[in-house]
Amino acid sequence: MTILRIPTPLRAYTSGKSEVNVSGSKISEALVDLTIQFPAIKSHLFNESGELRPFVNLFVGENNIKDLQGVDTAIKDGDRIMLIPSIAGGWSVK
């Protein structure tokens, strides 16, 4: 099992969970497992053609999967995957 860390903006789609246990030997399999467990998150991570959206950043340990083998990056038990969101803050209430 690998731990996938969910940032606050996406916890609305993981029943409020900050960490989800996912299985798979590479990132793409872990993400499939995540979307099976929490189908509502799928459209936030993938576009219509099933590719990861460009603003979605996934890190294994300290490293961006874009600097490794992308969604084919191998993962093993005990690895920690982090989803890093684009956050901008909030404009004032008008």
Partner: protein, 384 residues
Amino acid sequence: MIDELSHEQILRYSRHLLMPEVGLSGQIKLKNSSALVIGTGGLGSPVALYLAAAGVGRLGLVDYDTVDSSNLQRQVIHGTSTVGKLKVESASDRLKDLNPDIRIDVYNEPYTSENAMRIAKEYDVIVDGTDNFPTRYLTNDVCVMLGKPNIYGSIFRFDGQVSVFYAKEGPCYRCLFPEPPPPGLVPSCAEGGVLGVLPGTIGTLQATEAIKVLLGIGQPLIGKLLLYNALDMSFDFVKLKKNPNCRVCGPNADIKELIDYEEFCGVPGHHADDTSAGANWDITALDLKERLALTPNLILLDVREPHELEIAAIEGAKNIPLGEVAQRMSELDSAEEMIVFCKRGSRSARAIEILASAGFKKMKNLKGGINAWAEEVDTSLPLY
């Protein structure tokens, strides 16, 4: 070059002078340095306060908003006595009291492609204390084009991020986030909320990084991103690399001058109305009051989160939070006319988009949300 400190200044900065990493020469360096703080809100408040206290000789403040009482939960540079004042003036008055020795330049204007280069070129570091994607991309691109460090901080609810994007020595913001999320996918803090102390933590870290960069000491967060979560009290660091395909700092960059950032992000900046679903969809609170008098059983759909109903509610409204609208639309009847509302009109505008794409036609968006209803119709309800 101002190369001396007065006796008063030596006393003021004595705790800095005692540390060899700063010392007299470092303090003089700070006195001769400058920082531009973009935004005097949650992040800009601690940034400006600490940079002023530290003796950074020249501070620029950019904001065009006025102080509102709902700001005071986190924007600690302002106060109850400055509600209604221009934020840059409120902030500048507080900073002059904290440190009368420094020069403060205020820019009471939106930070845009037209004025950004002119304003930023005067300063050594740029601190990103903005709260929206268009201004963040603008700030980044200005820093890349002018070769200046961008001291980045961003917050949402309990999460914060800090980095130093300095394209001369490492990646820029676009290397990590080539594109913003589509509008509507990430709610703003005005809808999602933010823990008041969170921008204090993140802004203080930004001030720390700005001072380190100005002094040239320590290891600034260049090529690293700090991720903070206040609930978990977790600090995580990840490595950031330059993206060879970066459109602004990569070897084949095609963005050579500032662009239209609102168009790029697909969202309006501050000066546009994001609480409207379009004139054809909108209904004002007063018009809704009249409609309800004629049709008392008109369907009202409240797309706020359940805990918001404790703050203020309209009797008889059905609650389906925006995040559940797509899954639960079978509970709604597209043949019946429906008024959709939220706190201020932007979530309901998105709910209307979702419902319209599923074939719903008979809908209206309560412009200004329940806050407009509270202001114009039912004044027993609080504004929030």
